[in-house]
């Protein structure tokens, strides 16, 4: 692992990052109601974490917000800047989703390629981002030559490269080993600063490290707990003394939600 990662914040600076308002959102598949009249606001420019058991609809919620899932949705999903989700959101998944036939640089620039934009300026930016993230020498490598942590770092840069003010993350660090995960969380926290982030996770510690606000999502149809607002700005240190208490609280909340 490369240790001299420069956490040069600023790629994600978004003075106009919108909040996301879900009003009366209902969604389900035949025979399975996932959301019923869900109301929920993701605060602008903050990092919001959703934790909940597998299969409770966390990823579905992200898909509804990103617009990949629209059929069967009722209710409104609005952004406070009045814009449509089109071109507003970026998405990062648990799998890195790097295309194995493209090198690292081309993977970071995937969005540009898929939209048919031609911009050497953006490419330059991608190169400097890769350098700052300690991946400078891997620009021309294929993803298969990289470790899991490095691949996910590339995926993070690809997400940031989109320059979107809303970033949706679906358990982006859960497949990594503990140490790599901590490093990547710090890197992500510094790089996305200012954007509206909604991250889904099943790891209470991760939520406590990164979230300005934390919600617990349980049940079917899914319900959200009250927001937990841990003190201090993220990323919080894992050794922070208040973390064990809050973690216990979150776990308790998860357990209660599961019973009902």
């Amino acid at each position: 692992m490369n240790n001299n990662i420069k956490t040069n914040a600023g790629y994600g600076k978004h003075p106009s990052a919108p909040s996301i308002m879900l009003e009366n959102v209902s969604f389900g598949y035949p025979g399975e109601q996932i959301f019923r009249s869900l109301n929920f606001t993701v605060e602008a420019g903050q990092w919001t974490c959703l934790i909940g058991p597998s299969g409770c609809g966390k990823s579905t919620l992200l898909r509804l917000i990103s617009g990949t899932l629209r059929e069967g949705l009722s209710g409104g999903i609005r952004f406070s800047n009045g814009k449509n989700y089109n071109g507003l959101t970026a998405w990062m998944a648990q799998k890195d989703l790097l295309l194995p036939w493209l090198n690292v640089l081309d993977n970071v620039c995937l969005g540009i390629r898929l939209r048919g934009e031609r911009s050497s300026q953006k490419r330059e930016r991608a190169i400097s981002m890769l350098k700052d993230a300690g991946l400078g020498e891997y620009s021309n490598s294929l993803p298969s030559e990289l470790s899991g942590g490095m691949r996910q770092r590339v995926a993070l840069l690809r997400t940031l490269m989109e320059g979107r003010s809303v970033i949706l993350m679906d358990e982006p660090f859960s497949a990594l080993d503990a140490l790599t995960r901590l490093k990547l969380q710090d890197l992500a926290a510094s790089l996305v600063e200012g954007a509206t982030v909604l991250m889904v996770t099943h790891d209470p510690l991760e939520a406590l490290r990164l979230g300005h606000r934390i919600y617990v999502m349980t049940g079917k149809p899914a319900k959200l707990s009250k927001a937990m607002i841990p003190p201090g700005p993220p990323p919080r240190k894992p050794v922070d003394p208040m973390i064990p208490t809050l973690q216990a609280e979150l776990l308790d909340c998860l357990e209660k939600g599961n019973k009902t």
């Binding site: 990103s66 990949t68 959101t89 989703l97 036939w101 898929l114 939209r115 048919g116 298969s144 949706l168």
Partner: protein, 253 residues
């Protein structure tokens, strides 16, 4: 290593062949020995070469055209749902008719020359290429497509930059099958009616009881087919460069 193994296999087969001739005492007009065939090949080398070139051109022509048509039809079925609904049944029906059954028709329509043989090869190649490529195009990792959607990708760019490269490994295996069966089309076409090519030369020799020449033509055909197959195989490994590394990794682990 690979070449050595091939040579060893060829040598082994020749030995089995020679032993069979010795044990059964088959007369040369039933089963000539390898030496006899080698001699015939040497004596008729110029004719064999000329006819082999004809057959090779027919095979390559069929491969190029068949692959092109197959790839295009697979792409158009992915690009348009309604086109797929009309094209897919046609494809399946076309495969229900044995290509050999229409070989005489093709010769009738396209004549004694190369075009009827190329058409035969195209008909044989078309389906494996279309089926494999279409399957590959269809089974793109759904999350890649989702990512592309969130990125506001243009539909054509998704096909060009994600679906097509993702389908290349499947396309490559379809093309391998096609290369292996393409000579069948050319040879059958030549049998039905032609004045050139290894298929014609084999029938010609057979009619004159020159069984050793027939075997020589067969051996040349095998060499042509093998060379073609390994060339295509090599090219495919180069084209699907990222997959090769993955398999090597798995093997070495």
């Amino acid at each position: 290593m690979k070449v050595m193994r091939l040579v060893a296999i060829a040598a082994g087969l020749i030995i089995v062949w020679q032993v069979t001739v010795l044990l059964t005492g088959a007369p040369p007009y039933i089963l000539p020995g390898p030496l006899r065939v080698a001699k015939a090949a040497f004596v008729h080398s110029r004719f064999l070469f000329d006819h082999a070139m004809t057959t090779l051109f027919e095979i390559i022509g069929g491969l190029l055209l068949g692959t092109l048509l197959g790839a295009l039809s697979a792409l158009s079925m992915i690009a348009s749902l309604s086109l797929k609904r009309w094209l897919l049944p046609v494809l399946v029906i076309s495969q229900a008719i044995p290509v050999f059954a229409i070989a005489p028709l093709l010769v009738l329509w396209l004549g004694y020359g190369m075009s009827s043989k190329i058409a035969m090869a195209v008909l044989i190649i078309f389906f494996p290429v279309t089926a494999a490529f279409y399957d590959g195009l269809r089974s793109t990792e759904p999350e890649w497509l989702e990512l592309a959607h969130v990125m506001n990708a243009k539909p054509f760019a998704v096909i060009r930059h994600i679906r097509m490269p993702a389908a290349l490994p499947a396309f490559a295996s379809g093309l391998r099958v096609a290369t292996a069966v393409a000579p069948i089309g050319a040879i059958v076409g030549e049998w039905v009616g032609s004045s050139k090519g290894l298929g014609f030369y084999m029938l010609h020799a057979n009619a004159r009881m020159q069984i050793d020449v027939m075997f020589a033509a067969l051996a040349v055909l095998a060499i042509v087919a093998l060379t073609l197959y390994f060339t295509v195989d090599r090219a495919m490994i180069k084209i699907v460069y990222w997959q090769k590394e993955e398999t090597e990794e798995k093997v070495s682990k």
